[in-house]
Symmetry: C2
Amino acid sequence: MKRIDQVKGTFDQNKEKRRTAPSASTVKRLPRYHRYLARLLSEGTLRISSTALAERMHVTASQIRQDLAVFGDFGQQGYGYNVRYLHHKISRILGLTAGHRVVFIGMGDAARALLSSPVFVRGDLQAAAVFGGDAVGEMPAYSLADMERELPAIGATIAVVSLSAEAAQACLPTLAACGIRGVLNYTHTHLTPPDETMKIQNVYLDEPCLLLSYQVGASEENED
Amino acid sequence: MKRIDQVKGTFDQNKEKRRTAPSASTVKRLPRYHRYLARLLSEGTLRISSTALAERMHVTASQIRQDLAVFGDFGQQGYGYNVRYLHHKISRILGLTAGHRVVFIGMGDAARALLSSPVFVRGDLQAAAVFGGDAVGEMPAYSLADMERELPAIGATIAVVSLSAEAAQACLPTLAACGIRGVLNYTHTHLTPPDETMKIQNVYLDEPCLLLSYQVGASEENED
DNA sequence: TAGATTGTTAATCGATTAACAATC
DNA sequence: TAGATTGTTAATCGATTAACAATC
C-alpha cells in the first residue's frame, strides 16, 4: 500500500516516522542488547540510561541511542529507557513474540546444544518436532519420509538442519513448500536458498575456535 | 628487539616488509578464506586469481588482495595465487600448524559438535583430554579435581569450556596457571580473562538463530 | 522550573572499492 | 615481448562518535 506523504507532511496523522532501514551492523548487535536487558530485568533494574548501559556493555552511549532510534523512540528525555519496555520492544523486533515454531531436521550435537540455549530454554522460540533424528524432550519425532505429510500441520516457520550437506540442500524445497521461511544450517557447508523468500543462516561452528587459535598465536608475535 | 630501519632503508636486508596491523574485519574473514581454499584444494585447483576467487566467494577482488597483502606477498603478478601455498600460509596465520593441543573442560553438546567440525576432523587442532566430562573418542578423561595435577603435562594451549557459568569463571586462573592461553566459552555467559595474556572467545550459540528469527519477521514487513 | 537524557544532525574515523603502476 | 594480475595508493562509502537542540 503506497501513500502520498507529501500532502500535509507537517500534520501527518501517521504516528510511525519514516526511518532509515537498519544497517546490518546495527541488526547484528540486537541479540546482545536483548541479552543485557534480560540480565537487567532479572536483576530487577527498572530503568537505565544509555550512558549506564554503555558502561556495562563496553560500547558508547552514542551507539546505543543511534541503534535503538532506528527502530523507534523507545526512551524518554530526562529519564532514560524503561528496561521492561525496551526488552519487550527488542524481543518483538527479533521476532520472539511471534510464536515461531521450530522443527529440527536431523538432531546433531549442535542442534541439541541450541536446544539448551537461552532462546529455547526461555521459550522465546518453540521447539515443535524432530524429523530424521532422535526424539528430544517432549517433541514428537518423525522420519524424514514423513516430512511432506506431517510438517504442514505443525505450522513451523523455522527449521534447524543438521544432516549431511547433500541431504540438507536437497530437503530445502520441501521445507519451503511446507511453510519454512528460515533455515539454520549446521552442516558446515554453505546452503543456497531455493527461492528468494527463504532466509538461511549458515553456521560455521569452528570459526570462533579458529579465531581463538589466531589470537593465541598472534599475541606471541609482539616483539617490541 | 628493535632495529633502526632508517639506515639504508633502500637496501634493507630484512625481507619482511613493515606492514600495518591486520584489522579486526580482515582477521574475521580469514576462516572463510581458509574454507574456500581447502575446497579448491580438494577439487584439485592449483592456481586462482583474486578475480576468480572473488566470484566464488561473492566479494570483491580488491578486498581479497587487500586482506591477503596485510600478511604477506602471497601472489605473483600475471599468475595469481598458488592455492596450496596460500592455503598453507593462511593455515599458518590461523595457528593451525603450531600443533595446538585442546582440552575440554566439561563436555556439553556444543563441545561435542565442535569435535565433529572440520578443524578437529582434519586434525588442524588436536583434541587432547577431557576434564569433568564423559570421555569422547580416544581422549583420556579426568575429573575436574585432577586438573592441576594432569593438565600441565598435557601441554595444551587452548581450552573449550562447557560448564556452568560460575564453575567456568572459577576455573580460569587454574587453566592459566596450567598453560592455557585461549578459552572457547560455551556457557552462554560472558567470561572475563584472569590476566591480560589469556584470550577468550565467548560464543552465544543462539545468536544466529535470533538473527534468523529477525530476518523471517523483517521480510514480512516490506509493504511497498 | 532545573537537571537529565534522549533523538538527531554534523564531524570523524575506518573499511571497502576503484584505479593503476609494478612486474611476473 | 605482450597479457595478466598482483600489491598499493587514492577515492568512496558507511559506520561510529561527538555535539547539541528538543523535551520530559
